[in-house]
């Protein structure tokens, strides 16, 4: 395989006496969808927050595109192309699609030598169209507040935004939660499309259908530790559940049990 996009080595994060992430090492390669699986409280979100700059790890190293990385704030991670889509999506429901895709990074036109700057709505609309087209996302209208879109459509806006801003690694925290079945399918389709475009995706989830629908590889966490790493093709739901509940454990480490 080629060089990993993301390498985590011996990552540990503690909250007081609680070790939320315990000595996890992990690689993510270009063009793959990796499912990060585990029961509630397993440490999935904490691990991912260390990667996306929300938390600073207590121990261990993170390498992104081969370089040792320290992300003090989420914005630092975003600058190098690590886009995290949380459950709340970070969208402004009162604004339309182009406004959301360009939120915080609006395109502007200058007048009087830069003295007055106005929003370049035409450019943003055009780019939004192009960005959505590239992912085969279609909406009846882009110029309505996204409040009028469905949950899945909003998820699509968030994904399109990340892709538009050149995401090199997409992290999605439980993206299909709170979605109806048809909408879940659409989001899964989008995740596959991302992979086909070479953007690796880390999919945090505790629902198995997601895992089998889109992932190439699976990492299972239990009580902060990585208990196994498997190719999706080489496993089944039954086995994964046993890893998730701690009945199976590939690491031989009796101290932790």
């Amino acid at each position: 395989m080629t060089d990993p996009v993301l390498s985590i080595r011996g990552l540990t994060k503690r909250f007081g006496g609680l070790t939320a992430v315990n000595n996890v090492s992990w690689d993510v390669y270009p063009g793959e969808v990796v499912a990060l699986l585990g029961d509630n409280g397993a440490g999935k979100s904490t691990l991912i927050k260390c990667v996306s700059g929300v938390y600073t790890a207590d121990e261990g190293e993170i390498y992104f595109q081969g370089r040792r990385s320290h992300f003090a704030r989420p914005i630092d991670a975003r600058r190098v192309g690590i886009e995290t889509i949380y459950q709340d999506l970070a969208l402004a429901n009162n604004l339309d699609v182009p406004a959301n895709i360009f939120l915080g990074r609006e395109a502007k036109k200058s007048y009087f030598g830069g003295l007055i700057k106005t929003l370049d709505e035409k450019f943003m609309l055009r780019e939004a169209h192009a960005g959505l087209d590239a992912l085969d996302i279609r909406f009846p209208s882009l110029s309505q507040p996204i409040d009028s879109l469905s949950g899945g459509q909003r998820q699509a806006v968030a994904i399109a935004r990340a892709v538009y801003w050149d995401a090199r690694l997409m992290i999605m925290d439980e993206p299909t939660n709170n979605l109806g079945v048809p909408e879940q399918r659409k989001v899964q389709e989008l995740i596959r499309k991302l992979r086909d475009q070479g953007v690796p995706v880390i999919l945090i989830t505790h629902t198995l259908p997601d895992v089998f629908a889109v992932s190439d590889r699976i990492l299972v966490m239990h009580r902060g530790r990585k208990v196994t790493e498997k190719k999706t093709a080489d496993t089944n739901s039954e086995e994964l559940v046993r890893y998730m509940v701690g009945a199976l454990d590939d690491t031989v480490n009796p101290v932790d049990v």
Binding site: N94, A99, S148, S150
Partner: protein, 380 residues
């Protein structure tokens, strides 16, 4: 299809809504205009019927415009602040402080031998600087120390009021140069009705006796200044990144933070803008009355918030327009003027304005129930 899908499909676009709902959306968007129009028609008919003067005259329309300038100016800054999901309770008293500051500045400048116009400019700068400082302090405490805006601006209202009374030594600041009166009361156009009358631009015709009563001032300077501020506010809110960020912060603070919008400094700027528009109102009142007053803005806070709400700005943040606030201010002014001309007693005026405020919110809420809080009925 799940129920959430069905709901989403129903909300996907206006054109797919049934006609009755579409009607509600359009009506809720236009009701303020319609109400304003109906009210004017009503007063045009009703005022002469009770033996009053003609309602719809040039003079009366200009009087109404002059009357709304302070409420509207306070409402402009308030609109920006409320769209960002904040509130500024200090605007009325900031206006008073600015009135006192500009009066003191003009008087000292003029007494120090500075000519009239530069003295007025100094008065303007004093008003804006004093007001801007209050906004800076309000905004900093709200943004950096995370104290709720309601509390901060409530507290600063008292402080500002105290400072204004202290600086004015508990009385009206008088002794301003006579020429001030012209700045506050003259206008761009003049209309002299009747025989020997005419239309004059910029220069007030020399008139005496009976003829003086035939003189109408069209677009008095305070109205012009306010119109310019309105235009700037519309531009900022609709056309600039600053306006976009204001809606974003009010719509979803977390999203604004995560997408890297400089939320803290933005909030500080918003409260400064709110104070500064109040400062301009205070400055204009000093010109208009040739005096500074520490109580001039006392009653205006509630009127300005009422104007903003009647104009459809959401108190939850994220939605509203400047034109809405302009209409809201007009509704209050026309209503009050009309009721006065109908010889309706003052307490009824308050009651009617209160009813209109509540009805306005009810209309917005029923629209929100049908199409969602940020549905197609609202926008920047």
């Amino acid at each position: 299809m799940t129920s959430s899908d069905a709901k989403a499909a129903a909300r996907a676009s206006v054109s797919r809504l049934p006609a009755s709902k579409q009607f509600i959306i359009v009506a809720s968007r236009l009701w303020a205009w319609a109400f304003l129009g109906l009210m004017i028609v009503f007063f045009v008919v009703a005022v002469p019927a009770v033996g009053g003067a003609t309602f719809f005259t040039v003079r009366n329309s200009q009087n109404i415009l002059v009357a709304i300038t302070p409420v509207l100016l306070l409402g402009l800054g308030q609109t920006l602040v409320i769209i960002s999901a904040g509130i500024d309770l200090s605007v009325g008293w900031v206006m008073s402080l600015a009135s006192v500051l500009s009066a003191l500045a003009i008087r000292s400048a003029f007494n120090a031998g500075i000519p009239l116009f530069p003295s007025v400019v100094i008065g303007f700068l004093a008003a804006v600087a004093g007001a801007g400082l209050v906004g800076l302090i309000n905004g900093t405490i709200i943004a950096k120390l995370k104290v709720p805006a309601f509390i901060v601006t409530l507290g600063s209202s008292f402080i500002v009021r105290g400072v204004a009374l202290l600086m004015s030594e508990n009385t009206t600041v008088i002794g301003l140069p006579d020429g001030i009166r012209d700045y506050g009361n003259e206008s761009l156009f003049y209309l002299v009705r009747g025989e020997g009358g005419g239309f004059y631009f910029f220069e007030r015709p020399e008139l005496s006796g009976e003829m003086l009563r035939q003189l109408d001032r069209i677009l008095p300077y305070p109205v012009l200044v306010t119109a310019v501020v309105v235009a700037i506010a519309i531009f900022i809110l609709r056309k600039t990144q600053f306006g976009r960020h204001t809606y974003a912060i009010g719509g979803n603070l977390q999203a604004a933070l995560r997408t890297g919008i400089p939320v803290d400094s933005h909030i500080i700027k918003l409260y400064m803008l709110s104070s500064i528009t109040a400062g301009i109102a205070g400055f204009l009142s000093t010109l208009r009355f040739t005096a500074g007053s520490a109580v001039i803005g006392d009653a205006l806070l509630l009127s300005s918030i009422a104007a903003v709400i009647i104009g459809g700005v959401s108190l939850f943040g994220g939605a509203g327009t400047i034109m809405g606030t302009v209409i809201g201010s007009l509704i209050i002014a026309v209503l009050t003027t009309g009721l006065v001309m109908l010889n309706v007693q003052a307490f009824w005026q308050f009651i009617v304005v209160g009813v209109v405020v509540i009805v306005a919110v009810l209309i917005d809420q029923s629209r929100d129930l049908i199409v969602g809080r940020h549905g197609p009925g609202q926008g920047s």
